[in-house]
């Protein structure tokens, strides 16, 4: 979400602190989604200070059959940086979707978007990532 481990850690700690304060006031967070929702907004706020990506600025390519092989060559940090550079709410959508922790219903609740909107955010994210993959780690058929 942030592309910066220290910012992410700070957001995480702030969320945990807020949860502890709420629990002390007998207003404990109602469910696990609260943590992700709170952390998401803290990450978004932390990133607002820097340069912001604009939607529709990236090139898009259809998913290639060789994409899994291309992805295998990536370092996890590269993916983290790429996702953190995406505009909101696409960045949050991609982060939540690829965490593979949430049901569609939970993602819609967390992101406050409709199913069709989420679908478009994710599928355009795929095509943009494929274009980026083709540019950075091209795959040549043997």
């Amino acid at each position: 979400m942030t592309g910066d481990a220290s910012k992410a850690q700070e957001a995480f700690q702030e969320t945990v602190r807020e949860a502890a304060l709420r629990s002390a006031r007998d207003e404990a967070p109602p469910d696990r989604l609260w943590y992700f929702r709170d952390a998401r907004w803290r990450c978004v706020a932390a990133c607002e200070e820097g340069l912001q990506a604009e939607p529709g600025m990236l090139e898009e390519t259809e998913i290639s059959p060789s994409a899994p092989v291309q992805i295998e060559q990536l370092h996890p940090d590269q993916l983290a940086v790429w996702i953190s550079a995406a505009p909101e709410p696409q960045r949050s959508a991609l982060a939540l979707f690829y965490l593979d922790e949430f049901s569609l219903r939970e993602m819609l609740a967390l992101l406050d978007v409709k199913a069709a909107e989420l679908s478009e955010l994710i599928s355009s994210g795929r095509r943009q990532f494929q274009a980026w993959l083709d540019a950075t780690t091209p795959h040549y058929e043997a």
Binding site: Y35, I63, A67, L79, A115, I122, S123
Partner: protein
């Protein structure tokens, strides 16, 4: 209602199909996945799934800060919310259910209370209370005599045996009387008294459906219907009911003061 439209866009849903199968997947999503796997777009969908799986694997490989990892390992970050009794009781759903139960219970208790002191013939008596409520004195044959004297009239003119007015009401002046046949109660004698615009009814007692016997009772038993009250006594297989517009307490003095 589902989070999806009434007619979901399956191709749109398939584009955000879950990377790994989850137990709570919505039905619309399951249908979308099945269609995508079997339809013309099966190959692109398989590529999408492979793409997503590879990216998810890479996401899991993103290093987590050791301190944060330790927190997750040792701390219970998401405490179970203890719902206090107060919170549970103030929950709108609980309040609504409690109210519904209270109303149903109230109606049930009222019905039970209403029939608690029921006696054989109570239904007939209630039916006649409705008759009393709708009767006007002009409908009866006018006369001027004591209510007790009408027993002979009923026997001589209508062959109604034991249609006797009890001593408590025998001295009451009558304004009119009639005899009529009711579908359920059968031969009914009705007397209109001067006192408090009281009405008296005499009608056949309820027979035991098993053996056809009739059990008389000499005490007064009460029935009520929409502001009308009747005091019923049964002698010789005939019920006598004194009816008044009011409550049981309005009738009780007449029953007590006439006791020998």
């Amino acid at each position: 209602m589902s989070i999806f439209q009434i007619r979901p866009n399956y191709s749109s849903l398939a584009r955000c199909a879950p990377i790994t199968e989850k137990p709570g997947t919505d039905r619309a999503m399951r249908v979308a996945i099945q269609r995508a796997r079997r339809g013309k777009k099966a190959a692109p969908f398989a590529q999408q799934q492979a793409f997503d799986a590879a990216l998810a694997k890479l996401v899991r490989a993103i290093p987590v800060d050791a301190q944060v990892a330790e927190w997750f390992a040792n701390e219970s970050l998401i405490p179970l919310v203890k719902h206090g009794w107060k919170k549970i009781l103030l929950n709108p759903v609980v309040v609504a259910i409690a109210l519904a139960i209270a109303v149903i219970g109230g109606v049930f208790a009222y019905r039970v209370h209403e029939h608690l002191h029921d006696f054989p013939g109570a239904d007939k008596a209630r039916r006649l209370l409705a008759v009393a409520a709708s009767t006007r004195s002009v409908l009866l044959d006018p006369l001027k005599t004591d209510a007790g004297a009408l027993s002979d009239l009923f026997f001589m003119k209508y062959r109604l045996e034991h249609y006797d007015v009890p001593p408590e009401f025998a001295d009451f002046k009558a304004l009119g009387s009639r005899v009529f046949d009711d579908d359920e109660v059968h031969h009914v004698a009705q007397i209109w008294a001067v006192e408090k615009r009281m009405q008296f009814f005499l009608f056949p007692a309820e027979k035991d459906p098993k053996d056809g016997s009739v059990t008389d009772f000499s005490d007064w038993r009460f029935v009520e219907l929409e502001g009308w009250t009747g005091a019923v006594q049964q002698q010789n297989g005939v019920c006598f009911m004194a009816v008044i517009r009011g409550r049981e307490k309005d009738l009780v003095p007449y029953l007590e003061k006439r006791k020998p």
